[in-house]
């Protein structure tokens, strides 16, 4: 079995209302010096098999098809 982590983040320039709200909240809680905050997603997946190359290709296809919205998001795939 292969364990993988996919990280999906917003492209530069795309508005991140969540990040902005968190930034404000952290400042409100007294954390000084917090600059930009951007929020993204991670997916931890378990894949059957042991072929890492195939897993990587599959994961990329999953990102393109479902996990990421490539109109506004980037993704990165990492295999444990």
């Amino acid at each position: 079995m292969i364990k993988a982590r996919v990280t999906v983040t917003l492209k530069n320039g795309v508005l991140d209302p969540q990040g902005k709200a968190i930034e404000h909240a952290l400042t409100g809680l007294g954390f000084d010096g917090v600059g930009q905050v951007r929020q993204g997603k991670v997916f931890d997946l378990e894949l059957e098999g042991a072929d890492k190359a195939k897993a990587e290709a599959d994961l990329k296809a999953m990102c393109d098809k479902l996990l990421a919205n490539t109109v506004i998001e980037n993704y990165a795939v990492e295999i444990a």
Binding site: P17, Q18, A21, I22, A25, G28, L29, Q39
Partner: protein, 222 residues
């Protein structure tokens, strides 16, 4: 008979809650703003529904850390009745005033419909206007109402009668564990529930099953 409504940016059922409390008690509630550090002497504090701070990060998370919620916690500790509806429930949970967590609906979709609620515990100040096990109608409108608690917590709140409302007749709209729709604190004076009793209190709403909850809390019940 006096009540207060907590206002936070992004809440949007504040006007519904104010209207309901006004109609039921005959008095307009006072309102307290996110930055207020003190709450006037009232019998009931209501935290309405909505999307406080956009529900960004987690539902109710940012709101739970606002100054006014510290004041709510102090009042609650002194036995003042507190009710959180929908986002208000999420805020109470995030603030640690109620156990568990509210996760994304199992359908992953926002759901707005009428459900049936069983009054599991009619022995609280909020539910004394209902009969034990009475099944009432109530609307829901939420994206994150899927109640979750670990096994130990769940056993405790079930055992202590802290589960107050359960979705009945297969109307659980969100996948909530044990069909839990509303719970009270161990002290019994803090209630959180996902459904919206404030939207079912008069003929124009098509029913008034939600009324007894506020009447009970405001001690107006016959």
């Amino acid at each position: 008979m006096k009540s207060a409504v907590v206002l936070l940016p992004g809440l949007n059922r504040d006007r519904d809650m104010i209207a309901a409390l006004t109609k039921i008690s005959g008095h307009a509630p006072v309102t307290v703003w996110q930055t207020d550090t003190e709450i006037p002497d009232v019998d009931l504090i209501a935290i309405p529904g909505g999307f406080s701070f956009g529900d960004y990060l987690r539902c109710g998370a940012i709101a739970a850390r606002s100054p006014v919620m510290r004041a709510v916690a102090e009042k609650a500790a002194r036995g003042v009745m507190v009710v959180g509806v929908c986002n208000g429930f999420q805020i109470l949970v995030e603030a640690g005033l109620l156990p568990g967590a509210l996760m994304r609906n199992a359908s992953l979709k926002f759901v707005c419909r009428e459900v049936k609620l069983q009054v599991v515990n009619a022995n609280t100040a909020f539910t004394r206007g209902y009969r034990p096990n009475q099944v009432i109608r109530c609307p829901v409108a939420h994206h994150d109402g899927n109640y979750f608690a670990d096994a130990e917590t769940l056993a405790r709140i079930e055992g202590e009668g802290q589960v107050v409302f359960r979705y009945a007749e297969n109307t659980n709209p969100n996948g909530s564990i044990n069909d839990i729709a509303g719970i009270v604190s161990a002290g019994g004076n803090v209630l959180g529930l996902m459904p919206h009793p404030e939207n079912l209190i008069e003929a124009a709403h098509g029913g008034s099953d939600g009324r007894a909850l506020f009447e009970g809390a405001l001690e107006l019940a016959a």
